[in-house]
C-alpha cells in the first residue's frame, strides 16, 4: 500500500503544479492583454502628437482582417472583387482588407472561440441580439473606441447620432459601431395569396386573425388538394397573436418554444407582465382549437416536417408565416412560381397598431477586436467601407457588369450570368446604409410604398437595445420554463388538446411550478435598474 501512498502523493503534487501552471497561465494571458493595451496607448500617444486631422500615420502598409459570418465563396469571384476594393484601399489609406470567414457549420462555437482566443482581430461583425455581443464585451473581447472613432472614422462618427452611440456602449465605453442607417423589418406575419383572398371576397388587406380564419376556410372549401396552412409545429405563433391582440412588447429573452414574458406597453415599457396569464392566451387556445377542428392544417401537424414555404411555392399550401424581409423576396418568387398569386402579408402588429418596434440598431454592427494591432487603420478602412459609395457597392454587390447591371434603377443579373460561376457574396452586415443600396429586382418593388409606409406610421424605436438580461440568478428556473413551453406549447398552439381551458390551466400551473414568479421578479428587478440607466 505504500506504493499507493507514493502514487497518490505524486498525483496531488502534480495536480497542484498543474493548477499553479493554469493560474499563472491565465495571469500571463491577462498580463499579455495589459501589455498589449500599453502598446496601444503608446501608439495612440504617438499618433496624437502627430495629429493633423489626417488620422493615422499611413506610411506603413498593413493588412486589416475582417471577420464575417458566412460561407466562403469558392468560385473566385470574391477574390476578384476584393482585389478591386484593395486597390482603392491601398491608394487611400495604404492598407489591405483580408476577409476571414466563420462558416455556418457550428458558427456559434467558432465565433465565440475566436474572440476568446485572444487572436488579433481587426474588424468583426457583431449583433447584440444573436451574436452574444454584450457577453463578449463583458469578457473584454472588444476595444474601447471612445477616442479612436472621432479621430480615425470621422465620417461614421459624425453620421451616427448621439442616442445611437448611447446604445453602443458597454459600461460607458463604445464597443461597437451600430448598423443604424439601414432599413430592415423582421416583424412576423402571415403570408396569404391575394388571388384566393379576392375569390373569397376579401378585397381589403386582412386586418386580424378572424380575417385570416375566413380566408383559410375558403381555401379549405374550394381548393382541392391544398392544405390551407401547411403549418409546422416547431414554430409557435403565440407571440404573433399576443402582438395582434395586446399592446405588449416582446422582450429579448428566450423562454424556449413560446414567449412567456412581455412588457405592458410602449408607454409602460419597464413593467414586466405575461400575456400567458391573461385572457388573451385562453382566447388564443380556443381559436387555435377551432382552426384545428376545421382542418386548416394537417392532422399530424405536431409531427409535420414539411417545408411550409416550399409547399406554398408549389401551390400546395395557402399560407406561410415569417417576417417582412422574407416576404419581400418571396413575393417575387411567388409571382414566378404561381403567376397571379399576388402574395399578401398580414403583419401581426397591424391589428393593434401600438407595438411595432423597429429592429434594434445593434442587430448588425462592427467592432474592433481587443487585440487588434492596427485599430486606427481598421477604423479608417471601416470608414471607407461605410461611406465610400464605390467601395460600399463593390463589397455589397460585386462588380457592375459581372454580378449585376442596373436597369431602371434596379439591380438585375447580366445576360449570361451563371449562378455557379459568377455569384458573389461578402456577407457584410456590419454597417449597411440605405443611401448606397441599389434595390434588387428580386425584392418586391412595392414593399416601401405598401408595408414600409404602413410601418412608418406606427413604428416605435426599439427600447431594449442596451438591456442585457443576466440569467445567472434564475438559470435553473428558465431552463424549467423552457421545458414546460416545449412540452405543452405545441399542442396548445395548434389546437391539439381536447379542452383548451383545461390545457391552459395546466400550462399555467406548470409554469408556476417551474418558477415563473421568481423569474418575473428577477426580470422586473433588472428592468427597474435598466429604467434608471435609460432615464437617468
Amino acid at each position: 500500500m505504500s506504493n499507493f501512498k507514493k502514487v497518490s502523493a505524486l498525483l496531488i503534487a502534480i495536480m497542484m503544479i498543474i493548477s499553479l501552471a493554469a493560474c499563472s497561465g491565465s495571469n500571463n494571458g491577462a498580463n499579455k492583454g495589459t501589455k498589449n493595451e500599453g502598446g496601444k496607448n503608446e501608439g495612440k500617444g504617438s499618433t496624437n502628437q502627430a495629429t493633423d486631422n489626417k488620422g493615422a500615420d499611413t506610411s506603413k502598409f498593413v493588412k486589416i482582417s475582417h471577420v464575417v459570418l458566412g460561407d466562403k465563396p469558392t468560385n473566385g469571384q470574391f477574390e476578384k472583387v476584393l482585389a478591386e476594393v484593395n486597390k482603392i484601399m491601398k491608394e487611400k489609406i495604404n492598407a489591405e482588407l483580408e476577409w476571414k470567414w466563420v462558416e455556418w457549420a457550428d458558427w456559434q462555437t467558432k465565433y465565440n472561440l475566436l474572440l476568446a482566443s485572444g487572436e488579433p482581430i481587426d474588424l468583426i461583425n457583431i449583433g447584440t441580439d444573436w451574436l452574444d455581443t454584450w457577453g463578449n464585451a463583458q469578457r473584454g473581447a472588444f476595444m474601447n473606441l471612445n477616442d479612436l472613432l472621432p479621430e480615425y472614422a470621422p465620417q461614421t462618427w459624425n453620421s451616427i447620432p448621439e442616442e445611437d452611440w448611447a446604445e453602443s456602449r458597454y459600461n460607458g465605453d463604445i464597443v461597437l459601431i451600430p448598423e443604424n442607417d439601414y432599413t430592415q423589418w423582421v416583424n412576423h406575419g402571415f403570408f396569404y395569396r391575394g388571388d384566393w383572398a379576392k375569390e373569397a371576397g376579401i378585397t381589403a388587406p386582412i386586418q386580424d386573425w378572424e380575417g385570416i380564419g375566413k380566408y383559410l376556410q375558403y381555401v379549405k372549401d374550394n381548393k382541392e388538394g391544398v392544405v390551407p396552412w401547411d403549418a409546422v409545429a416547431s414554430t409557435s405563433i403565440w407571440g404573433g397573436y399576443a402582438s395582434s391582440y395586446t399592446d405588449e412588447l416582446e422582450l429579448p429573452i428566450s423562454t424556449g418554444y413560446l414567449p412567456v414574458y412581455t412588457t405592458k406597453s410602449f408607454d409602460e415599457k419597464f413593467t414586466v407582465v405575461s400575456p400567458i396569464f391573461e385572457d388573451t392566451f385562453l382566447r388564443f387556445a380556443n381559436q387555435m382549437k377551432e382552426w384545428a377542428d376545421k382542418g386548416y392544417w394537417r392532422e399530424d401537424v405536431l409531427n409535420n416536417k414539411n417545408d411550409n414555404r416550399a409547399s406554398l411555392r408549389a401551390g400546395l399550401s395557402g399560407m406561410d408565416q415569417h417576417h417582412t424581409q422574407t416576404f419581400g423576396g418571396l413575393r417575387v418568387q411567388m409571382d414566378k412560381d404561381q403567376p397571379g398569386s399576388e402574395l399578401q402579408m398580414f403583419p401581426f402588429a397591424r391589428t393593434g397598431g401600438n407595438n411595432l418596434t423597429e429592429l434594434s440598431i445593434t442587430h448588425g454592427g462592427t467592432s474592433v477586436g481587443a487585440h487588434s494591432k492596427n485599430p486606427e487603420r481598421a477604423l479608417m478602412a471601416y470608414d471607407l467601407i461605410r461611406n465610400d459609395k464605390q467601395i460600399y457597392q463593390l463589397i455589397s454587390y460585386g462588380l457592375e457588369g459581372v454580378q449585376y447591371e442596373i436597369k431602371d434603377g434596379k439591380r438585375v443579373q447580366p445576360a449570361g450570368y451563371d449562378e455557379v460561376k459568377d455569384s458573389f457574396s461578402a456577407n457584410f452586415w456590419g454597417g449597411r446604409v440605405d443611401k448606397f443600396e441599389i434595390p434588387s429586382i428580386t425584392t418586391w418593388d412595392q414593399l416601401e410604398e405598401t408595408l414600409y409606409a404602413e410601418y412608418d406610421k406606427i413604428k416605435k424605436p426599439y427600447p431594449y437595445g442596451q438591456f442585457v438580461f443576466d440569467k445567472t440568478p434564475v438559470e435553473a428556473e428558465l431552463t424549467a420554463i423552457t421545458q414546460v413551453t416545449g412540452e405543452l406549447g405545441p399542442a396548445i398552439t395548434y389546437g391539439k388538446v381536447s379542452d383548451p381551458a383545461k390545457a391552459v390551466e395546466q400550462f399555467r400551473s406548470k409554469l408556476k411550478t417551474a418558477g415563473y414568479d421568481k423569474v418575473l421578479a428577477e426580470l422586473q428587478r433588472q428592468m427597474d435598474a435598466y429604467k434608471k440607466l435609460i432615464e437617468g
Binding site: 506504493n3 502514487v7 505524486l10 498525483l11 458566412g70 460561407d71 466562403k72 469558392t74 476571414k100 470567414w101 462558416e103 455556418w104 457549420a105 457550428d106 462555437t109 467558432k110 472561440l113 476568446a116 482566443s117 485572444g118 487572436e119 430592415q184 414539411n306 417545408d307 414555404r309 416550399a310 409547399s311 408549389a314 400546395l316 415569417h322 417576417h323 424581409q325 422574407t326 419581400g328 423576396g329 418568387q333 455589397s396 454587390y397 443579373q413 449562378e419 455557379v420 455569384s423 457574396s425 456577407n427 452586415w429 434588387s440 428580386t442 425584392t443
Partner: protein, 303 residues
Amino acid sequence: MEKTEESRSIRTDVSGMIVKGFGYLFISLFALCCLLPFLLVLGTSFTSESSIKKHGFNIWPREFSTFAYKIVFENPDLIIGSYIVTLGITIVGTVVGLFIVAMTGYALQRPDFGYRNSISFFIYFTTLFSGGLVPFYLLMTQYLSLRDNYLAVLLPGLLSPFLIIMMKSFVRSIPHAITESAKIDGAGDFTIFLKLILPMTTPALATIGLFIALGYWNEWYNSMLFLSPDMKYRPLQLFLYKVVTSAEYVRNSAAASNVELRDVPLESMKMATAVVATGPVIFFYPFVQRYFIKGITVGAVKG
C-alpha cells in the same frame, strides 16, 4: 486427431429444425431492420424534392432525380480533394496511432515496468476530466500554432484512452513468459515487440485499427475548429456538413438580402450526403469484419 466419418449436422429432428428456423427468421428480420433505413436513405437521395414533399421518404424513388448529387458534386475537384485529405489523414493516423497505442498498451502490461499503474491511472484519468473546449482551442492555436494545419486533426486522434485500455487487456492474454524467454535469448525490447508481440495481437490490432480509422474517417469537429475556409481542401465530413448547413442557411435566411436564393433540394441532399460519406466505408467493411468480430470477443476462449 483424426476426424471420424460422421454427418456434420446435428440429427435433423423436428425440434432442431424449429430452433434453426426461428434463428434464421429472427436474424433475417434483424438484418432487415438494419438494412431498411439505409435503403431508405439511398432511395430518398435519388428522389426529387417535390416528390418527397408530397409523399415522404421512399425506398423506391417515385420521381427519379439526381439533382441532389449534382449539388453535392457541384465542384468535383473539391470533393475529390476532400476524399484525398480524409484518406491521407485516415491512413497516416491509423498507422501511426495503431503503433503508438499498441506500444503503450504493451508497455503498460509488462510486469517489470515500475510505473505502469500510475501511468495507467493518468491515462484513465483523462477519460473522467477534461479541460474543456476553450483551453483545448487555446493550446492548439496559440501554443502549438496548428491553425490551418492538418496536424490539428491528426494529433488529437492518435491516442485514445479507451483503445489503450482495450489493447492492454488483450496483451494480458499473452503470457509474460514469452517476453522473458526472448529476453534470455538476447532479444531487445523492440525486437520482442515487433517480432513476437505484434504478430500475436493481430485481431486486437485490426479492431483497434478499425476504430481509429473510423474515428478519422468520421472526424469533422476538430477540422471545423482548426481548419479555416482559407484551406482549399478540408476533410470530407466537414465538407459535406458544410454543404448541408449552408444549404439550410441559404434557404432559411433572408438576412443576407443580397444573396440570390436558389432552389436547394434539402431533404434529398441530406440523404445524398449520407450516401457519399458512408459509401466507401460500407465497401471496406466486409473485408475487416472478421477481425472486428474476433477482436471484440477478446478475452473469450479462442479455439
